[in-house]
């Protein structure tokens, strides 16, 4: 697969190095002298094309007609949008991926400019931080389906509300499946009658809302409860 990358900043270079390591054929277009000096140290020479990505002749010579993916990683959102538009309407590139520099420009990155996937780095970082803060000890192991669903892991603390209750009797969130329990280093495949023990590591597949509900469910009893119960 041949991937064309516009813009050799840190994002573009990281992507290029990753793809080269996986034996993809890539071509990076960059015009800045100082950036090119660095690129030549980090990428094979045949993967670098010197010129302006917004110059149609440069795009053509760098091979846009046979590119299966165009990734636009320049620091100009206008350039990234214009390049995705050109790639599809003029060169029939099957897939376009664009970097969003300024989150306030994110509303433009859609079909109107033929952007298939838009990567909003600021947004991704913010939602990761927000998630880490709001889920307490729950850890996200894997994102599924563009981040809609996740595989999460949480340890059952002492005094948890769920202790001693069979899974079938728990008010589990709607979009949530308990996938496995790791108990004393062994995998336990859960059934409806399984009950949680202190120290269990619970693996669950859930959506964002389910993760919050699950985190609440695994919390220890509030002080008031402990007195009354």
């Amino acid at each position: 697969m041949f991937v064309l990358i516009a813009g050799g900043g840190r994002t573009g270079t990281q992507l290029a190095a990753l793809l080269v390591a996986q034996n993809y054929e890539i071509c990076m277009i960059e015009h800045r002298r100082d950036v090119l000096t660095r690129l030549h140290r980090e990428l094979p020479t045949e993967a670098i094309y010197e010129g302006y990505a917004t110059d149609l002749r440069v795009l053509e010579q760098a091979g846009i007609r046979r590119a299966e993916v165009l990734a636009t990683c320049t620091d100009s959102d206008a350039d990234n949008l214009a390049l995705c538009f050109l790639a599809r309407t003029r060169y029939d590139v099957p897939r376009t991926i664009a970097r969003i520099n300024n989150p306030r420009n994110a509303w433009l990155f859609d079909d109107r400019f033929h952007v298939d996937v838009a990567l909003n780095q600021a947004d991704i970082l913010a939602s990761l931080i927000e998630e880490e803060m709001s889920l307490g000890d729950m850890m996200t192991l894997l994102k599924l389906r563009r981040g809609e669903y996740s595989l999460v892991e949480e340890k059952i603390p002492a005094g948890a509300k769920v202790l001693g209750i069979a899974i079938k009797d728990l008010p589990l969130p709607e979009h949530c499946v308990i996938a496995a329990i790791i108990r004393h280093g062994e995998i336990v495949m859960p059934s409806g009658r399984t009950t949680f023990e202190v120290g269990d590591e619970v693996l669950a597949v859930t959506d964002r809302r389910g993760a919050h509900e699950l985190a609440q469910l695994f919390e220890p009893h509030h002080e008031g409860y402990q007195h009354s119960g």
């Binding site: 206008a78 350039d79 949008l81 538009f85 306030r104 420009n105 109107r112």
Partner: protein, 219 residues
């Protein structure tokens, strides 16, 4: 007419002021508040400070109600992107784009936009003026690809027809003025010296005509 001008540099300020003087409602957008100093002090249109692509800025400038938008910043890709969104999302009926660097004109044209290149257009006019005053452009269309040119018939072409004079390609007659009266000429019109002829021609057409009219200059 309600018009948005994006970019308040020399071209943007000039355009906004001209529109304002003709009585139109003009809104100028620029990300630098200092750019509005380019506007003459008696300009009474609206100014909106903001990055034009940022969410809400075009809306603040009233894009839902405008009849026209001109994107005239010094970033050619920005001009193209703003114009494209104005046409496709907001259905602005009349959208024009300035080309700043002729190298990026193909990129703008790929969007199917009306592009005006001040650099190309200016260079062509200067080139024409350098060729001499005996053939002058009185009107140019697009970026000067086609123009209306006027010349005076020299005595070497007296009593010959227009068909003999005009090149086969890139040049058609538009009007002929003889002794103060204008008429629509045909290919068979017989010329008299001192006739003033208007032709519509491409750059190649006008160059071929110039060589026929003034062959001695080629030496």
């Amino acid at each position: 007419m309600n018009v948005i001008v994006v970019g308040c540099g020399r071209v943007g300020a000039q355009l906004a002021y001209r529109l304002y003087q003709k009585g139109h409602h003009v809104t100028v957008i620029d990300q630098e508040v200092a750019a509005f100093d380019n506007l003459p002090p008696d300009f009474r249109g609206r100014t909106v400070e903001g990055e034009v692509l940022a969410h809400g800025v075009l809306h603040r400038a009233g894009i839902e109600q405008v009849d026209g938008l001109a994107a005239v910043t010094n970033s050619d890709s920005l001009n193209a992107v703003v114009a494209h969104i104005a046409r496709t999302k907001y259905q602005v009926p009349n959208v024009v784009v300035r080309n700043y660097d002729p190298r990026w004109q193909p990129l703008q044209e790929a969007f199917g936009l009306q592009v005006i290149s001040s650099a190309n257009w200016g260079a062509q006019r200067l080139e024409e003026l350098l060729y001499g005053a005996d053939m002058r452009a009185v009107f140019t269309a697009g970026n000067g690809e086609v123009g209306i040119y006027e010349f005076i018939v020299p005595d070497t072409w007296h009593a010959r027809t227009l068909a003999e004079l005009l090149p086969e390609a890139g040049c058609v007659p538009a009007a002929l003025t003889r002794a103060g009266r204008a008429l629509l000429p045909s290919q068979s019109t017989v010329l008299e010296d001192c006739d003033a002829v208007l032709v519509s021609a491409t750059l190649e057409g006008i160059e071929a005509l110039r060589q026929r009219l003034y062959p001695e200059r080629e030496a």
